[in-house]
């Protein structure tokens, strides 16, 4: 039997090589004709977010993505400029009054989105909301330092503190403490009313948030671009692909593995800073790490350069002490307490009565991946000195609960300080209710006293001495073990101008610069 063409001699003109090629060419032309729509309009900046904002409650901390949207809509009494320096924002002038009071003169032309001018009573109203547990404000505990808010005249307030506080101005610049309109009443997450450069236009839950220019914004000529569309890209690879294909103009948290590619790409650029950090927390109430010598042994056994290489793709540097953000505090010699020294680690193990090492479990999370990679490197490093580590990897939600309840021996953590001031380490080493960001059960009167002294001292030289002493105390008591500073970058189109990554711990304040950003 000879083979015939087609079934039972049926000619098949519709499937042949030429037909397929023609079809492909036609499809390409059709799609090619639409090329360029991805670049988008000049009057809209498209920003890629890591998550869709869970909500836009002005006083709650629901992550950096919500923070970006909040910074478009709201403004506080103070803020930061692109160099990370505090500046008056809704306040036109700001003067300390003695050691425990600050006086703020409000701008004449500052208005809320409901048309009402920003008045002294709005400031008092907002601070009242933050202090009230009912509004679940992120800074509620911090704002307990405010004794009272005096309305000096309709445009002037005097905030009186219970004690002097060096970091207090930073609280007023936080994007979790924007000034809210008293006339608008209780904040409504669905209809946020702020005094920022943009008003909420639409929210497509899970997809995108759009804001548009507020015509009565107090800075003349700002914002420079009429609209911003914040688009959620939960998959970091797709977020990078969207940047490369021109779908988005700027993205927050450029993944470390993509940084080389963005730097090499002639169409793109990136702006990075070293701000967030990785560290280890311990269960100091039960298990092996109740012994401070074992915590110290871990500190000497970790090879921080390996973590930088593996988890941050070389984009970071070792953290050999407490995570003091920003100069001059981070540069002091005392802030270099432990380096990779396996012999020292073994010596400490012997002193602790574990000459042959011991077994323990390290809690970490599978997402973000860098937490898992960090745990794997620590596991290897500790094996070199005889500490056998078993990894307990869970998803994020489980990890937080296990951390809060102390169901771990030691764990990998990563975050960023609230502001560029060493007082921000209080969250991680000060006494307080149990939380996954700090070591379970750890409490030290000596460290707490130093933290309080550092916070209430206003003279910078004296503060530096106090924070040096705190480093020594932290080395002796080892509340946490620092691992690395990691780089945090925004990736953007080369033609995007005005967007700046704010330095250090302020990196998530960068969306303030959206009001200066234009597509050229």
């Amino acid at each position: 039997m000879t083979r015939t063409s087609g079934f039972a001699g049926i000619p098949m003109p519709f499937i042949n090589r030429r037909g397929v090629l023609l079809g492909a060419a036609a499809t390409a032309t059709l799609l090619g004709a639409r090329r360029g729509f991805a670049q988008g309009a000049r009057d809209t900046i498209v920003m890629g977010l890591v998550n869709y904002p869970p909500n836009i409650k002005p006083l709650e901390n629901t992550g950096s993505s919500s923070g970006a949207v909040k910074l478009a809509i709201f403004r506080g009494l103070l803020s930061y400029n692109a160099d990370g320096v505090l500046q008056p924002e809704l306040a036109e002038r700001w003067t300390p009054d003695g050691t425990t009071a600050h006086v703020f003169k409000l701008r004449d032309n500052a208005r809320f989105h409901n048309g009402a001018p920003v008045m002294a009573e709005d400031v008092a109203f907002t601070i009242g909301l933050i202090q009230d547990p009912k509004y679940t404000a992120f800074l509620r505990a911090d704002f307990q330092i405010v004794e009272r808010v005096e309305i000096v005249d309709p445009k002037m307030v005097r905030i009186v503190l219970k004690a002097p506080s060096a970091p207090f101005p930073h609280l007023l610049a936080s994007y979790h403490a924007p000034i809210l309109s008293k006339a608008a009443g209780e904040p409504d997450a669905a209809k946020p009313i702020g005094a920022g450069p943009y008003m909420l236009k639409s929210m497509e839950r899970g997809v995108a948030v759009e804001v548009e220019r507020f015509a009565d914004y107090y800075r003349p000529g700002k914002p420079k671009t009429p609209r911003i569309r914040f688009v959620n890209y939960p998959d970091e690879n797709l977020r990078v692909a969207a940047l490369e294909s021109g779908d988005i103009d700027v993205t927050e948290t450029l993944p470390w593995q993509a940084m080389d590619g963005v730097e090499r790409n002639p169409r793109l650029k990136m702006d990075s800073t070293v701000g967030p950090f990785m560290y280890l927390t311990f269960n100091t109430r039960s298990g092996p790490f109740t012994n401070v010598k074992l915590r110290q042994a871990v500190a000497f056994a970790c090879k921080r350069d390996d973590v930088v290489k593996a988890a941050h793709f070389g984009r970071g540097r070792p953290l050999n002490g407490l995570p003091y953000p920003g100069k001059p505090f981070s540069e002091t010699p005392a802030n270099d307490q432990y380096r990779h020294d396996p012999d020292m680690a073994r010596k400490l193990l012997r002193e602790a009565g574990f000459p042959n090492g011991f077994q323990c479990r390290l809690l970490s999370t599978t997402s973000p991946t860098l937490h898992q990679t960090t745990a794997e490197v620590v596991q290897q490093n500790l094996a070199e000195v005889g500490i056998q580590v078993e990894l307990a990897l869970t998803e994020w939600a489980t990890r937080t609960t296990m951390g809060n309840q102390g169901r771990y021996e030691f764990s990998v953590a990563g975050t960023v300080g609230a502001y560029n001031d060493p007082d921000s380490v209080t969250t991680f080493i000060g006494s307080g209710p149990s939380a996954y960001a700090r070591s379970f059960g750890f409490s030290s009167t000596r460290i707490d006293e130093l933290l309080t002294r550092g916070r209430t001292e206003l003279d910078e030289a004296k503060r530096m001495a106090i924070y040096d002493e705190l480093q020594k105390a932290a080395f002796e008591e080892m509340p946490i073990v620092g691992l690395t500073w990691r780089s945090q970058a925004y990736g953007m189109q080369r033609g995007l101008e005005g967007f700046r990554n704010f330095p250090g711990a302020l990196t998530f304040h960068s969306p303030i610069s959206l009001e200066d950003t234009v597509k050229t």
Binding site: R35, N61, S66, F138, N237, A242, Y436
Partner: protein, 316 residues
Amino acid sequence: MSWFLKRIGLSILLVWIVASIVFLAIHFVPGDPAELLLSTSGFAPDPVAVEELRRRLGLDQPVLVQYVNDFQRLLSGDLGRSMKDDSPIIDAIARRLPRTLELIVAAGLMGILIGVPAGTYAAIRRGGLFDRVASALSALGLAVPVFVMGTLIVLLFAQTLRWVPAGGYVAFDRDPWQHLTMLAMPALTIGLHLAPVVFRVTRAAVLDVTSRDYVRTARAKGVGPPRVLVHHVVRNALMPVVTVVGLQLGGLLGGTVLVEFVFNWPGLSGLLVESVSSRDYPEVVAIVLTISILFVGLNLVIDLLYGALDPRVRRR
């Protein structure tokens, strides 16, 4: 009549059991919605705020009380509100379910459009070059996971050729063309995974049918070859294809997660994953309830149809 009632009763029982299992599972897995919501950024949340939020969300009640309250609410037809932003969950489902269905339908169409002609052609040129190449490709298509396929498609069409956006979603009424372009990539990804299955079933079925007597008879009485192929072979071979495609598409209802994630397609599976990871209890229960009602409902309709068409089924 009692047979029909029994079927319906069983279906309702099944949905209730599924919803209860999911409710208990999500409550007993570690992770607290209030804590998670207030600590998204890796900071330790203020415990007073966490307590207040837990109280407001009713999480301070014993699980059994929460169960009774939630199911009373569900029985009255109210799916509840999201713990994240207090928005009605029914709205989110009403918005997301059609997108997943649209994706499944488009993927099914692509799978059929690729699989049926290729399978037919491979069968009638059995052992030929096309057959061998297509069979090898279909093995490859089945073996490559959807997220790898998806990533490769993004790399080729969005990053290298820059023909289409890398993913995302635009509503049809906002820009129909852009909507379809954005639908094309995820649909193609699932379609390419589906096509090998369709290809194989079609190929086997066509081979089977071509040797049937009625095909020989048709040819013997002088029917033209194209007509034999279309009317006698393919039409009869399509029965198993339709069955298989139907089964595959049903399975996709909760299974488009990876593709939705890779392409940022805001469908129902993606919402389910997001609510599980943020422990948005009412949202998880509502979505699983919706999916199980669809599944069980579909099966019920088929069961009832069988029963109505064939009285023997009712006696079994």
